[in-house]
């Protein structure tokens, strides 16, 4: 009797132990890779982007559980260090250690291009939330640049601004990377196609210790171009580089006499933190474009849930990482955890996705095809940037309010 009882208890125990295991086995886990720069100058972006992605995963898992769907998403992240090589290593590490077939990230076009070869060769899908450099616009690859429009829209916007302001020649200073080279080249084509005159370019190496030599050369270019018509400066620089340039330009006898345009990352309060720089930018009628967020039904819920989860509101562009993660996960739910199937399905899903600030819609290159820019200048008191117009990338229409 005792023998039978102990056998029965043992059986019951075995069943009790086995049951939850059986339950867990029913849940299928999809790994969502996250390749972002956690270290280096872009580290703060990478950290915030990853929070946005993790929030999307948390929300998705909660909905899947509530709906009784036995699929869960798990994040596997790696540091791209903000470099092309680092991005390639990060994507490779995630894929080889977790079997992930879909990666959200990396951040910049240089990083995306760094990871491209491995992704294409191994059927890994890259969903990049904020890469906009023109060299990344490649049809038929495994890279999707959702939400944030490629820089050819910005190039057209700047060419239109230059035309409307009557600039006949442009002196460009640009960072020597895929973003800077691509935008400078595309702008030159668009500007001259719209009847613009001569364009000179000066490229500088990324992360320069200072830009005083380049500023002197820019000044010489402006002096030469000014002889044949109204000339402006176009600064395709990162924020820190622009600060170094302005430190020299603000006392240059030639660069202070012409108007300036600058890329959208310069529309930042940090650029105006130095009073001398702010006054200089105000005096040279500095103008820029910035991709304008428009409110959608998802805007407030995203900001509220992010703030509730992390204590701080989301940083710049973090909503795009959140959107990119959602597009990736929705596609995986539809196509399964298979890179090739996701590649085929993702444009369809993206084109039906309402983002937190803009409707996603992809072109033949797999890049965001809807672009709507605000046009900004420095306020009269030089303390902030104010919006003075809009540029619709779909229609090519520039509207200025002043």
């Amino acid at each position: 009797m005792a023998k039978r009882l102990s056998l029965l208890i043992s059986l019951l125990l075995l069943i009790m132990i086995a049951l939850p295991v059986q339950g867990q086995d029913d849940v299928e886990t999809y790994v969502l890779g996250v390749a972002q720069p956690f270290t280096g100058p872009l580290g703060s972006f990478g950290t915030d982007f990853t929070r946005g992605i993790e929030l999307a995963v948390m929300q998705m898992n909660a909905e899947l559980e509530a709906s009784g769907v036995n699929i869960r998403f798990e994040v596997a992240s790696a540091d791209t260090e903000g470099t092309p090589d680092g991005a390639a290593r990060a994507v490779q590490t995630i894929v080889q250690t977790t079997g992930a077939e879909v990666i959200v990230g990396p951040l910049t076009t240089s990083e995306v291009l760094g990871a491209k070869q491995f992704a294409d060769e191994n059927g890994v899908v890259i969903v990049a939330p904020a890469s906009s450099g023109i060299p990344g616009a490649i049809p038929g690859d495994n890279i999707f640049r959702v939400m944030y429009p490629p820089d050819n829209f910005a190039a057209l916007a700047f060419a239109e601004i230059a035309r409307s302001r009557g600039y006949e020649n442009i002196a460009i200073l640009h960072v020597d990377d895929p973003f800077g080279n691509g935008l400078a080249e595309r702008f030159t084509i668009d500007f001259q196609a719209a009847g613009g005159g001569e364009v000179t370019t000066i490229a500088y190496s990324p992360e320069p210790p200072d830009l005083s030599g380049e500023a002197t050369a820019l000044s010489a270019d402006v002096a030469q171009l000014s002889g044949s018509g109204n000339t402006a400066v176009f600064c395709i620089c990162f924020l820190a580089d622009a600060q170094k340039l302005l430190q020299v330009a603000q006392i240059d006898p030639i660069l202070t006499t012409v108007e300036w345009m600058g890329v959208e990352n310069l529309v930042s309060p940090d650029l105006l933190a130095d009073a001398g720089h702010a006054q200089f930018l105000q005096s040279v009628n500095f103008i820029s474009v910035s991709f304008t967020d428009t409110a959608t039904p998802l805007t407030s819920p995203f900001i509220e849930s992010f703030t509730a989860e992390y204590g701080d509101p989301p940083g710049p562009f973090t909503n795009y990482a959140f959107d990119a993660a959602n597009i990736a996960m929705l596609t995986m739910l539809a196509a399964g955890n298979d890179g090739d199937a996701v590649t085929g399905m993702l444009p369809f899903v993206a084109n039906h996705y309402i983002g937190t600030s803009v409707q996603a819609y992809l072109d033949d290159n797999g890049d965001q095809a809807i672009a709507f820019y605000g046009i900004f200048r420095v306020a009269d008191d030089a303390s902030s940037f104010i919006e003075i117009g809009t540029y619709n990338g779909s229609t090519g229409l520039l509207e200025m309010n002043e």
Binding site: S205, D210, S212, G213, T216, Q224, A240, Q247, H277
Partner: protein, 306 residues
């Protein structure tokens, strides 16, 4: 136009060369007195710049106060690095390769502490609150207050350092250490005290140069690192032991990066993207043709190592 570009680049060479000299002298000191090729020097420079930024925002915009506090904070960081990392390795009689790796490690630790701090307090790419003013203007060139802060400060500090090394007991002790470490110990030189003072001096030089570099450009956690190769090129030109050689090396590197680069760009259209290659080219050429650098030119002077 060419005349203007040339004069402008020469002024810039003088300004940048003065800063390189301040930074490179610190490297020469650590190399000759402490026998350490210290790559963490880059981060001491950055610490000085961040101190200047914080002081300019919260304490004073007076450049003397900014430079003074930057020197103090960077000195403390340098000394703490010695006490916590370099001295234990020295006691283990570690090879120069291990010390080199340790200096990289110290630099990385400081750099990422700076990254975390900058991230927490939003201190990326910030400007030190010292306004730029034009102090002298002609048809061909303009001199700003930054020029008059950087160049005289560097010259005064270099002279003061030379006096310290050549005309004080501490200087004699440091040179004795540079010349023969074991002999210096045997004849009763308080080796550890001299090392501590050398680290404080090295940190102060880095701190002041970082603050001045930050005033000239902007402050970020990588600012010291991006300039360190040019500074090492200057120190190598000085043979890593000669003060006058290091100073001359600093101006040669700055002249190459600015004036020669500017002329090549203006006359032959050479892209500024090649500018970062210049220090490497100088290092390779010097190591191939004249490994002792400019040391031989200054034999009659009191170099650190005779």
């Amino acid at each position: 136009m060419f005349e203007r570009i040339l004069i402008d680049s020469l002024i810039r060479s003088m300004q940048v060369g003065s800063l390189y000299a301040l930074m490179a002298l610190g490297i020469t000191l650590t190399m000759s007195v402490l026998k350490l090729p210290n790559f963490a020097h880059a981060e001491f420079v950055t610490v000085g710049a961040y101190t200047a930024l914080i002081v300019s925002r919260n304490v004073s915009t007076n450049p003397i106060i900014i430079l003074g506090l930057s020197a103090i904070v960077a000195s403390v960081v340098a000394l703490v690095s010695h006490i916590t990392v370099f001295r234990p390795f020295e006691k283990q009689k570690s090879s120069i390769y291990i010390m080199l790796l340790a200096s990289f490690a110290v630099g990385l630790i400081i750099r990422y502490v700076l990254f975390l701090t900058a991230d927490t307090f939003d201190l990326f790419d910030q400007r030190i609150q010292v306004p730029l003013e034009i102090w002298y203007r002609t048809d061909n060139f303009i001199l700003s207050n930054v020029f008059f802060w950087v160049v005289p400060t560097s010259i005064v500090l270099v002279i003061a350092l030379s006096l310290l090394l050549n005309a004080t007991p501490l200087g004699r002790e440091m040179r004795a250490l540079a010349d023969n470490f074991d002999l210096a110990r045997v004849i009763g030189i308080p080796v550890e005290r001299v090392k501590w003072l050398t680290w404080l001096l090295v940190g102060a030089l880095a701190g002041i140069s970082g603050a001045l570099w930050g005033i000239q450009t902007s402050v970020s956690p990588l600012m010291g690192w991006v300039v360190i190769l040019s500074v090492f090129a200057a120190a190598i030109l000085g043979g890593l032991s000669s003060f006058p050689g290091t100073i001359l090396g600093a101006y040669v590197v700055a002249f190459s990066e600015n004036t020669i680069m500017q002329v090549l760009n203006f006359q032959f259209g050479l892209s500024f993207s090649f500018k970062p290659a210049i220090p490497f080219i100088i290092i390779v050429i010097v190591l191939l043709i004249r490994p002792e650098g400019f040391t031989q030119f200054f034999k009659s002077n009191r170099s650190l190592k005779r």
